[in-house]
Symmetry: C2
Subunit: 635 residues, 2 copies
């Protein structure tokens, strides 16, 4: 067991400074390209016009070119007759003005007499409707400065200024080397322990987005000499190199050694989370970065260091992300050891932007997909309380966030499907969902964090669903229920039901392993209600403490064999090919403050769930009744 430990714990800005100081000056390369291929490229020198535009005095209108002195005295009552070839020539927009003329009268102001004669009723003044030489661009004038990212409109002026070739920074070639014996290409037959290489594909896409040219190498198994020779090859072929992963302290983490042997390791370890075990160094004069293997760690290293480097090669100063103020909906704890990046979901509810922290695991790629922004918790701060105002770096367009229907509460796949259809029908609307269980949804409504809350809460006394909970927990708030679906809850078990599980009464059987839902979920309440009714002590159920946040998560645990049974909906069993023991129907509805009922977003959502397309999807998923779907119950 030969494991390294981290060498350093530099602060992020300090680490960046050390790195950039060590590798500067960057070997920025330049190239000359045709102007019309320049969109998105960055000028390496100022561009001055070589010719004027227009390069001759030209007509700004369709009409006739004439001499202004011949028109003097023309009025509505005193028309002046002009003869073609003598007094005027016909000109179109852009035509040159003959030397003998000094003005243009536009066609709308002419009275046609015959093919060769017109009358005018207004006198013309010198230089009217003429674009003089250089009106737009004067020879030698600066068109765009250096270090300017060229836009389509720039291309127009540059060509108009007679410049057909421009000097731009070359896009840096970025070597991307995935390493690891456990890493396999997408599409490989997966064995236990195999990890699909997606990091190198994400890096390549990021490199492209930031203006670099990704050069991905094949996956390198953990064989020291192979990794070393590939890194050396990349240092010959590329401008900078990314090695993934091999930067943490595991047994086979060679990256640091390879860099040290071929070049120099400047530092290994930065005080950020996720992203700590990064390596910054140089090989063969080329900057090299050892990127952590966890995708979220990798993301923050890419965003905070690699992007800056790729842009620096192109003469671009990296822009700060747009920052907005938001109210934090949950407490965030953090360590004094790190600057922490917390992904958040943003919702614009009740005219406030609400930030809800997402899963903080470094392996949670979906937290990046779902994130609307990032909250930075400084190293000096131990945590931030719920309700505090925080600054969030935006990952999405603010308008899109304002057009997002926030849906926090119980999980069901139909919410995702509904969101997909909503966006398809009304492309400017989005739906964002968070799975915190039915009671979590009620609390989110109470806190003004969500527009709607999907819930399925059985009133143990009345046997009625949802309404009594809303009345109890949201007193004084004008609420309504958008009726959703009837869905069948039951036990999910392995195909063929090998343990012969028949109902709740079998959950404390010897050797039975259960997988539970999280506290506050309607499904958990349903379980607890039935266990109590049957007098079963939860402590006797193996796995009662193991919590999943979704029906699919429960189904996956059963499907993999880690658990023998879990409580969930029929559609999850169907999706994963499990057997299902139905135990009852429940009403899954959407609680909504009355004030939102008339908003475009909620109206569109109701339309969506009533649509035949959505109902077809329910049939496909299976186990849903929808006789009242979309109807409103005022509470």
């Amino acid at each position: 067991m030969a494991q390294n430990i981290y060498l350093s714990n530099y602060e992020l800005e300090e680490a960046i400074k050390i790195f950039f100081d060590k590798i500067s000056p960057l070997n920025q390369k330049r190239e000359v390209i045709p102007t019309w291929e320049g969109s998105g490229r960055v000028t390496a020198a100022p561009i001055f016009a070589k010719i004027s535009s227009p390069h001759y005095n030209s007509s700004a209108m369709d009409g006739i070119a004439t001499l202004s002195t011949k028109t003097h005295g023309a009025t509505d009552r005193n028309h002046i007759l002009l003869e073609e070839g003598v007094d005027y020539v016909v000109v179109d927009t852009g035509d040159p003005i003959p030397r003998e003329f000094d003005s243009v009268i536009m066609v709308e102001d002419l009275i046609r007499v015959d093919d060769k004669k017109v009358k005018i009723y207004k006198s013309a003044i010198s230089w009217q409707n003429i674009r003089p030489i250089g009106e737009d661009i004067v020879e030698t004038q600066l068109i765009v400065p250096s270090n300017h990212k060229i836009r389509p409109v720039d291309i127009g002026s540059i060509i108009a200024g007679g410049v057909n070739e421009i000097e731009v920074y070359k896009k840096p070639v970025v070597g991307v080397i995935p390493t690891g014996t456990e890493i396999v290409e997408p599409g490989s037959e997966l064995k236990i322990g195999d990890i699909i290489d997606f990091n190198s594909r994400v890096f390549s896409a990021q490199v492209g987005e930031w203006g670099g040219i990704p050069n991905r190498y094949g996956i390198q198994k953990d064989i020291y000499e192979n990794i070393k020779s590939t890194v050396f090859k990349a240092s010959e072929e590329c401008d900078l190199i990314l090695v993934n992963a091999g930067s943490s302290a595991g047994r086979e983490d060679f990256t640091s050694k390879v860099i040290g042997e071929l070049g120099e390791v400047f530092l290994h370890g930065i005080a950020i989370k996720p992203g700590k075990p990064v390596i910054l160094g140089v090989v063969n004069g080329k900057p090299i970065i050892g990127i952590p293997g966890f995708p979220v760690s990798a993301y923050f290293i890419m965003e905070n260091i690699v992007k800056r480097l790729i842009e620096a090669y192109q003469g671009i100063e990296t822009r700060e992300r747009r920052v907005v103020k938001a109210v934090l909906s949950r407490r965030v704890m953090s360590s004094l050891k790190y600057l922490e990046f917390v992904r958040v979901k943003l919702g614009f509810v009740n005219n406030r932007l609400i930030a809800t922290p997402l899963s903080r695991g470094a392996g949670a790629t979906m937290s990046l997909v779902n994130a609307d922004g990032v909250l930075e918790v400084p190293q000096s701060v131990e945590g931030i309380e719920a309700g505090n105002e925080v600054m969030i770096e935006l990952l999405k367009d603010e308008d899109d966030i304002k057009n997002t229907l926030v849906c926090i509460g119980s999980h069901d796949s139909i919410v995702d499907i509904g969101g997909d259809l909503l966006h398809k029908k009304r492309k400017n609307f989005f739906l964002s969902s968070a799975h915190v269980g039915s009671m979590g949804g009620i609390m989110a409504l109470k806190g003004g964090e969500t527009h709607i809350a999907p819930i399925h809460l059985l009133d143990m006394e009345s046997g009625e669903y949802n309404i009594s909970y809303i009345k109890k927990y949201l007193p004084g708030k004008k609420m309504a229920l958008i009726k959703g679906v009837n869905r069948i809850q039951g036990l999910l078990v392995k195909k063929g039901n090998p343990l012969n599980i028949l109902g709740f009464e079998d959950l404390d059987k010897e050797g039975m392993r259960f997988v539970n839902r999280q506290r506050g979920s309607g499904t958990r309440l349903l379980l607890d209600y039935n266990l109590r009714a049957l007098g079963i002590n939860p402590e006797n159920i193996i796995g009662y403490e193991r919590e999943e946040f979704t029906h699919l998560g429960v189904a996956a645990a059963v499907s993999s064999g880690d658990a023998d049974a879990g409580l969930g909906v029929y559609s999850a069993a169907l999706a994963m090919g499990l057997d299902f023991i139905p135990l009852g129907n429940e009403e899954y509805d959407f609680a909504v403050p009355v004030e939102y009922l008339e908003t475009e977003m909620v109206k569109s959502f109701i339309e969506t769930i009533k649509s035949s397309e959505f109902l077809r999807e329910l049939d496909r998923l299976g186990g849903y009744g929808y006789s009242n779907i979309g109807s409103i119950v005022m509470i």
Copy 2:
């Protein structure tokens, strides 16, 4: 003379509705591509996970996998000894957890005894540091919805979810057909009347930026059958077609006829300015747009109609531009006939965003290059007064605007050069200049519209430059002068001075044609001062009324032979290869409110103009003295 007139004057939104109604449903095409090539593409269907990620229970840390029950009781005082192979196996991050173990202890929490033994000082709990199957993504889970523009992070989750091919909308192929007998390719030998085709290059770049594939055809002379056959060919090869220009009412404007004959013209003419003479139609089932020839008109048609169409093919709803509030610095007049788009420069001065209208000519490509935003003046509004708050659609990043040093006043090329160097040195800073003459600069300071004002104003009485004007026009305002350059003013005349012009006294010579600078410019004041001293009546100077806004504009007029002499600086004569009759030195300085002297931007500007690089540029331009450059004179 067979000229068309505009057929219609639809309002913009009405025209767009008619157009999209007529051409819908769009023939959106789909294709299946590898996931890793999907960055920036738009999903045509929701993407669901095919496998869970992780697909096995895996270690979240480097360390050892063990059974939690074996660790119970371990404390700082009571270490527990564990043996490899018996009590644990060594695992790296991502390694599978053997069935017999249920927790991972990270390497940092181990005390190494020997190669095969460790001690622990903390007990482990079940499932700690284990990533259970599906922790990130559960099989069948929705990863991204349809009509979603794929980002690099999405690629990661999609591959992790086992989806290696995705269905996306095909990028629409957009035919771009430049037409016009006068249109020539960039790089052609230019004759009078030739117009360089840059529009089709701008359109192609825009199409690419919006996700389409441009397919540019060769320039079509104004030969009806040729244009017709090219349009038909494009309708077979492309998804939509742009024809430029031939959409106004000139003699050879065939576009409308061609479209009418091959298909249908829906409308010709929209009530916007610039952009009025657009044609919307269909040929062979493909939408076709006749785009006006003036580049600024073309720009607004591209932005308002073509972008929307190209994005619709990809299932994207066009985003509205960000809008900011700004104070209008000059009155804007507009016609009740049109919705008018006014390009504005924005400056963040004195904590207010100030919008200054740019040149409104439809041929002014530089007004697009220089624009920071667009002010829409509705059809129902005749004008907006200076000082009013207006809404501006942003064309640039708001942060960049806030980092822009605003420099309004007298024109000299050294301002552009200084701006270029400033941005090169401090890549987050920009300089924007407007040429309104020295007195215009003083007024801009008075109105709080500029940070600095380049001026060269001679006090006729004291012979001193600049200071007395600042005192007189900005009383009570704490001002300073950043010393700039001494520059030589003189007469610019044709090479060889054919008219033998020696000084101001020759400007009213018989047959002499002068070109003047605009009122309020220091150069104009210098001219008027000398004319008065010599007793010359301006009315006797031919061309006294012809105003140019820059030294280069004056030089271009002389260079082209449109004028015989103009007053300007030596560097302009040198740039255009003219002869120069020096008539005196003047002091060209930068007036600045004292409060801005300590801002980073002004400090960086002063540093820049003092730098050896800048002084070298002054030498290259010629005619500048700079002994006091960058020193501060408090007023």
